[in-house]
C-alpha cells in the first residue's frame, strides 16, 4: 500500500502568499524527504527531516514532522511564480536494509500566479 499520501492534490495561490502541503504515512520511518519536480524535469531534493526531528528550515521552506500522527507538512513562504511545480513527500522506512529506498506520496501540484 502507498506509504505516503498528500493533500491537497492541487493548490493554486497568488505570488507572495504562503503554500502549505501535507503528507501522511503509515509505518515507522527513518526519515522523510520533500522533493520538487518541475514539468518535464527530474526531482530536486528540498529538505530531509529525520524521525527524531520536529522541524527544519531551509530558506523559505519550513518542514514539520509529527511522528505520533505520522504526518508532515511543507510550508513555502512568500511564494514566487518559479515555485510552480509538483511537490512530493517521500519516506525512508525504519530498518537497516532499505538502501535508502524512497516511497513517494501522490504529490501536490502547486501553481503560483504572478
Amino acid at each position: 500500500s502507498q506509504q505516503g499520501e498528500e493533500d491537497p492534490q492541487a493548490l493554486s495561490i497568488q505570488e507572495g502568499e504562503n503554500a502549505t502541503m501535507n503528507c501522511s504515512y503509515k509505518t515507522s520511518i527513518n526519515n522523510l524527504q520533500w522533493y520538487r519536480q518541475n514539468s518535464g524535469r527530474g526531482l530536486v531534493h528540498l529538505i530531509l527531516i529525520r524521525s527524531n526531528e520536529r522541524e527544519k528550515h531551509s530558506g523559505r521552506l519550513r518542514v514539520t514532522l509529527d511522528t505520533s500522527k505520522k504526518s508532515s507538512s511543507l510550508l513555502i513562504t512568500a511564494s514566487r511564480a518559479a515555485d510552480t511545480a509538483s511537490y512530493f513527500c517521500a519516506t525512508v522506512l525504519a530498518g537497516g536494509t532499505s538502501y535508502g529506498k524512497l516511497t513517494f506520496g501522490q504529490g501536490t501540484i502547486l501553481t503560483v500566479h504572478p
Binding site: Y99, G100, Q106
Partner: protein, 116 residues
Amino acid sequence: DTEVTQTPKHLVMGMTNKKSLKCEQHMGHRAMYWYKQKAKKPPELMFVYSYEKLSINESVPSRFSPECPNSSLLNLHLHALQPEDSALYLCASSPRDIPYSNQPQHFGDGTRLSIL
C-alpha cells in the same frame, strides 16, 4: 543543469526493438537507482545498485534488464516492451554513506520513453 546525466532524453521504440537507457554521475556516489514515473503519478522504484551490485529489484519484469558496469554508470536495457511501459524513466544516485538511509537522492531529468 543536473549532476546526473541521462541519455537519450526521448526514445520511441517498437515492441520488438532492443534499446538501452544510460545514466552517468561523477559525484563519487555508490548507490544508484532506476525509477519509473507515469504521467501525474509519483516515481516508483525499480532497481537499486549499491557498490555496483544489484541490491533491490522491485519485482520488475525481465524485459527490463539493469546493468552497472562501473561506479559512475548505470544502464537499463529494454527488450520486447509493452505499450504500458511508456513512461518517464528516472535515474538517481546517493552517497551511500553510513547511515545510507539518511542521504538525499540526486535525480537526472529522465528519459521519456514511448512504446509504439
